[in-house]
């Protein structure tokens, strides 16, 4: 009998900012919830993030950014995911993203944005409920 495959999550820090407190806490919370978590470390280019997602065969990508460069970096990541045919990966994001940018980011294909103060349980639950089913 094959054991059930664990949900695989990539937590990624795009861009040059180094605020990784949130990213690490989310990585740990998802791991404690039974998921397989890969954390990229800081200063990742969109190319590196998408390459890691591909190599690691992840179900979920969590992007964390606090530098204000999301409007440049998120669209590029989404575009690269499309090019690599990774469109069924669940992409979520967190950090400091002004309210007025949220709709635009969601339209791009980022499923949900979690701002400061979000309970970690809420993110864990969101991942369980929205992770694409493997066939």
């Amino acid at each position: 009998m094959q054991s059930e495959r664990k949900i695989r999550v990539l937590i990624a820090k795009p861009g040059l900012d180094s605020h990784d407190r949130g990213a690490k806490i989310i990585a740990r919370a998802l791991r404690d919830a039974g998921m397989e978590v890969i954390y990229t470390g800081l200063k990742q280019t969109p190319e590196q993030i998408v390459e890691t997602a591909l190599q690691e065969d992840v179900d979920v990508i969590g992007l964390s950014i606090l530098s204000g460069a999301h409007k440049t970096l998120f669209p590029r990541i989404i575009q690269l995911l499309k090019e690599k045919d990774l469109t069924d990966v669940l992409v979520i994001a967190g950090g400091i993203i002004p309210e007025e940018d949220v709709a635009e980011m969601k339209e791009l294909g980022i499923k949900e944005m979690f701002g400061p103060g979000t309970p970690t349980d809420k993110i864990v639950q969101f991942v369980f409920e929205n992770v694409p089913k493997r066939t």
Partner: protein
Amino acid sequence: MSDKGKINEIAKELERWEKTTLPKWMGQRPERKSEFRNHSDTLIKRVYTPEDTKELDYMRDLGFPGEYPFTRGVHATMHRGRLWTMRQFSGYGTAEQTNQRFKYLLKEGETGLSIAFDYPTIRGYDSDNPLSKGEVGICGVAVASLKDMEVLFDGIPIDKVTTSMTINGPAAMLLAMYIALGDKQGVPRENLGGTTQNDMLKEFFAQKLIIFPPKPSLKLVTDIIEYCTRHVPRWNPISISGYHIREAGANAVQELAFTLYDGITYLESCLERGMKVDEFAPRLSFFFAAHNDLFEEIAKFRAARRIWAKIMKGRFHAKNLRSMWMRMHVQTAGFTLTAQQPLNNITRVTIQAVSAVLAGTQSLHTNSFDEALALPSEEAVRIALRTQQIIAHESGVANTIDPLAGSYYVENLTNEMEERAMEYFKKLDDMGGAIAAIERGFFQKEIADSAYKYQREVDGKKRILVGVNDYTTEEKYPIKVLRVDPKVEEEHVARLQKLKRERDNRKVNEVLEKLHYNTEKDENLMPTIIDAVKAYATIGEICGVLRKVYGEYKELIVI
């Protein structure tokens, strides 16, 4: 009756109170929690009495302001003589925009400047590097060359203000630009006043904005301290920083212990370089966070001053009293700002700022209430500055020195802070020092564990954050987001490329070759870097030379 007799009597009385008066009240009004703890996980007693400070020896442990061990303050008049420097960290967009913001802050009564640089500058990349895309001028001002520095300080005579630069990896390059700017404005180097953060050790486990590996990073830090000691004597070459350690998740004890231990490491590095302790130690400065727990923070600041004085005297045999001074800058803790009901942050910032003032800080930055949402607006920055002015002029807290001395609670907490910091020092000494601890991920793990614990407490409502996990509302505060025009990046790139075309490129190549040579020879690099910035070599070019020789740091990932 002897003091000891009195204390025994009080202890007996306490026991009686606990058996008679207290139970009646506990029956009618039980306590809100089964136990009370601060951020450093100290179990807080119901009430503190002289018994809790019975080991305290006034002259040995507290003394007078301006005298060893400086628990009560480094100056004899403290804020009665001069108020702390109100220094607001700011910078965004182009050098022109930040120059305008500086002039505005100076007009509003600010007394010192503090530059926030953008991420490309902090990481040693030019604006036209592909890695800089989308980040130019966003989280700070873009300074790629001396040209930008000239614009940044246009109309601001730098012999009239002091300037703090939050810069670490490329600290030598930015300091070199400031020195070069001084040369242009006709300000002698001995009259330049200010601070470069230049604290690389904490970068490896807290702020994590790193270019080079630990050893060459420490070498560059030491170069700056040595150069300033000889040539820029009024400059604080380093600001040994706990702020980022705290923001990354450490508790107050860890912030205190790790920061001071970094300080010890820099001292050792300077002594190895052949400098004498009393030559450079008086210019070392410190930077801490002020978090929400008022008394815990006050105890931390007081303990920090006392420990540092003892280290300088005991471990490093300093003779000059100034070497034993811990001069500090404090910033209210950005992490505590909430995105929910942001106006409440004004109250948080006030409490935090009061702790720093009560504990005798030399300089203070108060955060703006909207910073969990975006870059601070002008209104929010003004309120943050006004908060300091209200504390200074209306609250009366600055009218006497170290008013909480002698408080059974505060003195007990201060002692505990010191004891727990010393335990960390011992552990770190045994591990082989700060760099060894970084390489094995010790600090990183300690901080990540504390950060996770804090978050679990918030998630489980063991720790109440108003507006976040309790007293919540659905209302959204209509925040006006200050946005940096994307044109800033285009304009900056264009300006930089124009500079690269028009400057004397033969001279630039020559000086960069000389830099390469001197880097390999392991010389103090400050003089060569000053020559390079004067030739308008850019930050990316100068860091590029050093990257070739030193290599780049690869992050040790510790979750």
